[in-house]
Amino acid sequence: MTMLSPTATYHAELRQELGSVGRALSIQRGLVWAARGLAAGTVVVLGLVIAAWIRGTVDSLPIVLLAAAPMAAGMLTGLGSLFIHHSTSELARRIDRVARLSERSTTALELGATGADFPLALAQMRDAVEHLKRVDLLEAFPLRVPKNELMTAFFVVVIAAIVGLSPNPWLLRARASNPAITIAREQAQRVQRLADSIQPQGSAEIEALRQLVNKGAKAIDAKSNEPDAALSALQDLEDQVRQMSAGDDQLASALAAIASALAADPATQNLANAINTGDMRQISQAAKDLAQASAGLSGQDQQRVAKVLRDAAGQAGRSSPSVSGELSQAADGLDNAAASAMAQAAAAGDQSQADQSGQAQQSGASAQTGNAASDALNQLSDNAAAAGERQRTASQLESSRNALERALGRTQSRSGSTSPGRSASNGQGNQGSNGQNGDPSQSSTGAQGQGGDGTDANSGAGSPGGDQSTGGDNGQGGGYSTGGDNQTKADASGSQLDTITTPQQVPSNSPFTPDQSSANPYLGDAGNANAQASQESVQPSFSSKPTSGNDSSSIPLGLRDLVKDYFSSLDKKSP
């Protein structure tokens, strides 16, 4: 057992007592710093509230986060202060001052450090230790509530609440003088509703679209007090959606190309009809239905459908290799399934005693090949569904942009370029310039609005693009048009949804391959502008288009009546 010297013993006792002092000091300091952190946090919150108040976005502030931030700041600073190291000499000076120990601790600490052992030194150290032991640390370092900091935090919170709840007079004045702000906010909400309406249904593409639109809606909302910036954000979002839709044109072209081929067989007639509507949703559903129905077809039917799909794949090969591939896979799958079924039937007739296991294997192979066909068609269905959502989104965004541009007093110059095939000319219309009857490349449904007197003759065999109509609100001076006019395209890489009406995509029984030159049979009587063919003869489903278009969500709700009226007027004009 080692006997410590008196000096060392007193020194150890002194350090022990000072350790207690350090802990008491840390707790006291932690409380103070926690309150300071809380106050600082509330000041930050006040800053955020003021910033939001200035921008008019107080409603979008996350209340829970605002409440949690000061508390987190207080806890962090309070806990952080506990880790501040206090030297023993500092603690000695502190307790000497606070407890009025007249530098007893400081002197004793020095004596202990130097190992002084003369009687007066020992008496001094003993005196210091005794005095330190008598000190009530709670009295020396009382855990007082830091009133100043808490009062500061309280008043800051009150100010923040007042600021947050009170309307911004400058903003109100600005909104009153600039209705575009209100419209920008409305469009931001509209885009947000659009984002909410997008149902991914397990599709990664649609989910990505939903996230993009959601993010864009928030950006527009954040800039709604600056309509120009909001418009810019909206245009950015539109551009991004368009970039996502880059492959949709090929898909649409391919679908258009295969429509006639699919119409040749009753089993694929529905898909052909859906393609003719141009509504990707219907196409998706029809493809899905075909995928389900293909499994139940007889072997001969499967072979027939396979042939039709293969022909369609051949037609789509130029426009979209992927669509062509999917159709080919489906055809192959159906062929294999038909072959398996026929082999199974033959085997059943010839060898009635065939073992059950062999039949089971054949049956399994048939199902496997049938699934391959279904998968390919389902893939086509998914692609169409994603394209449909993108079309709908683009249409809505364009509508919002048009509304915002009108509020800002700008012409909608981007319409033609951003959405070829669905030009939204502002009161210019096509003024009959597209009235080239018999020219299938000039499918247009005119325009209405200021100066928009276009009642273009619908010509060509292409399906009208009116079912994707977008445009401005009627009566606000902004015209609208449906249907595409390729002559108005400014962006060659734009959507080719309306290229369904382009000559090379017209279903034809011509023996010539597309690469060979030939006289276009549809141009024969097109130049005299005296075509007397009825609308229905050109496009049998013409009259049903407004109705089907209105039923789809691609036409804004407020414009559906207008579209319907327009097409009704065409019905009256038609001979």
Binding site: P6, T9, E103, L120, A123
Partner: protein, 342 residues
């Protein structure tokens, strides 16, 4: 009121307060204060100052108008300490030999004559140099040499003064005619310069009651010269923490107008600041005060308490201070109040 620790017991060691000086020091000092306080009425600070000065081994200069009890104070302390006491009334015709002593020719029994040193009044433990500023500089120098060297030289022989040796000098600040103010170098030899204040009404009443009666109070003897020497040695052992010591150093430095961070008043009114001897006086006085307060260490407060008596006679004022009536006490107060502890 401080709480004195009981017997210090560490392990097998026991340090008995009874045999050690910390406790005796305080007991003795308090006993002296008490005894002197019975005679000297209403001057506790002065009594404490003189006692502090004695325990620190220094000499004190008391300044005050006549009749305030300066002489009585010194005599009472001498009686309480059982010390040999002598009083010298300084006058312009007082010669150095009158205070140091002189050699006289003495006839022996065999008829021969020898020179024999006859000690002067300085050969006492406690010397009261009354109105020291009335003597000529020559005589003052003799006194101050004895104060510093603690011996006197007569002829070719050096005579050591007895231990302990204290000089308590008094001077009258108002009667300046026919006086020889002490030069600064000689003032510096005094550890403390104490100003004796005018008594309050209550104190005057008590003085009248006590001193005009039949019997005069006399102090009891509570310590011997040997005990006082022991206390003096002990006082020097009192530990001083470095922050406290640095505080004292800062105060002394800031009395010097050449120090960059000295107060503006010092720069304006002081010609010279305190010497290092002033620092010694400050620390020694603080050590004694700490003990008298029941502590075994020096506190910042001790330094502040002894700053005035330690430094007031060491700061030399300029003409502007005289013109504006600024005293050294005010300057020291400014210095102390503006000097940070840390």
């Amino acid at each position: 009121m401080s709480v004195l620790p009981a017997n210090v017991t560490v392990g097998a060691q026991t340090i008995s307060p009874g045999g050690t000086t910390p406790y005796r020091f305080i007991e003795t000092a308090r006993a002296i204060e008490t005894e002197v306080g019975h005679v000297i009425i209403g001057q506790p600070e002065v009594v404490r100052g003189v006692l502090t000065c004695l325990l620190a081994g220094g000499h004190a200069l008391l300044e005050g108008i006549p009749g305030l009890g300066k002489t009585l104070l010194v005599r009472t302390i001498g009686e309480a300490l059982d010390l040999s006491f002598s009083r010298v009334q300084f006058t312009p015709d007082l010669m150095p030999a009158d205070i140091t002593g002189t050699s006289i020719l003495r006839d022996s029994a065999d008829g021969s004559r020898t020179l024999e040193f006859q000690p002067g009044p300085l050969f006492a433990n406690l010397v009261l140099a009354d109105e020291v500023n009335r003597a000529t500089p020559k005589t003052q120098s003799a006194l101050l040499e004895a104060m510093q060297e603690r011996h006197v030289t007569a002829g070719r022989t050096t005579h050591t003064l007895p231990e302990p040796f204290f000089v308590l000098a008094t001077q009258n600040p108002i009667e300046m005619e026919g006086t020889y103010p002490l030069p600064e170098a000689q003032l510096d030899r005094f550890l403390f310069k104490l100003t004796v204040p005018y008594p309050s009404e209550e104190d005057l009443l008590r003085i009248a009651q006590v001193t005009t009666g039949v019997g005069m109070p006399h102090p009891a003897r509570v310590a011997s010269g040997a005990a006082l020497l022991e206390l003096m040695r002990f006082a020097r052992e009192v530990p001083v923490a470095e922050p406290v010591l640095r505080y004292a150093v800062r105060i002394v430095r800031r009395t010097n107008p050449d120090t960059p961070d000295s107060p503006a008043e010092i720069k304006r009114f002081a010609r010279y600041g305190s010497s290092p001897r002033g620092l010694q006086a400050l620390v020694l006085g603080a050590k004694v005060r700490g003990l008298l307060e029941g502590r075994f260490n020096v506190a910042f407060e001790d330094i502040r308490s002894v700053a005035l008596p330690s430094l007031r006679h060491r700061i030399i004022l300029g003409f502007e201070a005289d013109a504006e009536g600024v005293s050294t006490d005010k300057l020291i107060h400014d210095v102390v109040s503006t000097t940070p502890e840390e």
